[in-house]
């Protein structure tokens, strides 16, 4: 039943796509010359460019084969030959996305940075790469009361107030689905990686009684249960505004982080939801988004 449900849910957009009108051959704004300077493609400082005139509709395709103005043959479709096509779109492109997250992990609110980077494939409908997120302890003031075992005390205290931190890094695969009629791309990431979450002494407690390292005391007080290292799995959903521009696309997302087998002081579980706000740059969007009407 789960298999059937999964296939059914993800086949719905394919059905919607089959009912869309076929795209036209009209050039979009992406085909017009850029009005701003492009220093990465110029050796001299660029002069201000005049605003380009509106691009007229392309002339009907010639009856003969390609002329000298079209030195590269384009791939012919089953329909009438396309005009002015000189090269194939790239099959892959690098992308990077940066975000800030609000976490609801271990039954408390926290925040931290996250990123993903990799290669955009299949006309930017599949991304494969590396991702990571962090929950820096010093930037998150939440504290966790932990009672020490009977007979154990630290600088006269039997209950300590700890802070927490953690991070993960891993591989990710994201499927991207264009929603019909709206300039929004639905992204479905799946991330599997390795990381850790832990709890630590802070403030005056980091000055140990004998001058030994803090981690030595933490291991001694909590019998090595002050942190967890292991596999972390994450999935979620994002909605990105498809601006048709590779320079930047804002997105919001909701993620679920699963930390299987988590055992540590301070919290029974570190699994939970997080919300993302970010921007993605690069990828194959831009030229390949011209089919959207």
């Amino acid at each position: 039943m789960k298999w059937i449900l999964g296939f059914a849910l993800l086949s719905l957009p394919r059905v919607a796509l089959a009912q869309e009108a076929p795209p036209t051959s009209q050039p979009t704004a992406a085909a017009q010359p850029a009005a701003t300077s492009q220093p990465f493609a110029a050796s001299q400082p660029a002069l201000p460019q005049p605003e380009p005139a509106a691009v007229p509709a392309p002339a009907p395709p010639p009856a003969a084969g390609p002329t000298q103005a079209e030195p590269v043959l384009s791939r012919m479709s089953s329909e009438a030959p396309q005009a002015s096509s000189v090269a194939r779109a790239p099959r892959a492109a690098a992308y990077v996305s940066l975000e800030w997250r609000a976490f609801r992990l271990a039954d408390h609110l926290s925040h931290g940075p996250a990123f993903s980077l990799g290669v955009s494939l299949l006309r930017d409908h599949l991304r494969v790469g590396l991702m990571g997120f962090g929950r820096p302890g010093p930037w998150n003031p939440a504290e966790f009361a932990v009672k020490l075992p009977d007979g154990v005390d630290y600088k006269g205290k039997t209950e300590l107030s700890l802070r927490s931190d953690g991070a993960m890094m891993g591989a990710h695969v994201t499927g991207l689905i264009d929603l019909p009629k709206v300039p929004v791309v639905l992204e479905l990431p799946l991330q599997v990686g390795y990381g850790g979450f832990g709890f630590y002494l802070h403030g005056e407690d980091r000055i140990t009684p004998d001058g030994d390292r803090v981690s030595v005391w933490e291991d001694r007080l909590f019998q090595d249960t002050d942190s967890f290292l292991g596999v972390i799995v994450e999935t979620g959903v994002r909605a990105a505004l498809d601006t048709g521009d590779r320079a930047g696309r804002p997105y919001v997302g909701l993620n679920y982080t699963l930390v299987p087998g988590y055992t540590s002081v301070g919290s029974d579980s570190y699994s939970g939801f997080s919300a993302s706000l970010g921007v993605e740059l690069g990828g194959l969007r831009g030229a390949s988004a011209r089919s959207r009407n």
Binding site: R14, L17, P23, A89, P136, L190, S291
Partner: protein, 249 residues
Amino acid sequence: MKTIAALCIGLLLTAQAQAQERVTTTDLTEEEARREAGPESTPAEFIVGAAAFLSPRDDFSGPTGGGGALDLRWQLPRGAQLGLTAEGSRQETVFISGKALPGGSVFDVRAVGLLPISSRGPLQISARARSGASWLRDQGPGGEVTTRGVRTVSDLALLATVTHGERWQFQAGPVLGFAFELSPTVELADQAQLLLAGVGYRPAPNLLVVLDLEGGGSFGFNGDNAKVLARSTLGLRVALGGGDARRPY
């Protein structure tokens, strides 16, 4: 697990279906092809940079340290860069062998390489790698140096650089940092995930004023390190050959 596998297979099939729907419209016009071809040949020239930076306290109540940096790059045709960076700073606390020591100084020297990966219009994505050594020392109450440390320091970054108009440049990307202490102990000192965001303004064709913010969490010395790294940098970059100073850095 079966549900996840089914979802993944469904995702792939959906993505492939959407990709095939657009197969007749992905051919580029001549203008788009030229833009997709990447940066044209740029003149080889030296680019020098000087900057001052501050590191904030964890609660951002003030600086915990600061210093200066020099950067010398040789830009190759088509945008690759090779160079050296050196920086020195004073810090309220330095971490040597997992101990937080007061009143220290740090001196870094790193080789840097930057390689453009893709470029289209105002956006360029580049990979940057830096690797070198860092020397740390504390400063005791009487001003004497009691502890010294040596590390190897490296970082990898994927930078997205976007120009806007005639004068502005924005740069952002993740930075993965690794530092290993070599002396007095051998131990992982910092493994950091940072986000970098910066803005640059070009008052003259070969000058670029940059303001960068960089920060994120770090793990090292089994949790006895600073746990977070953050820095704000204000600098000036000059293209000595007279070329456009708006470049990834």
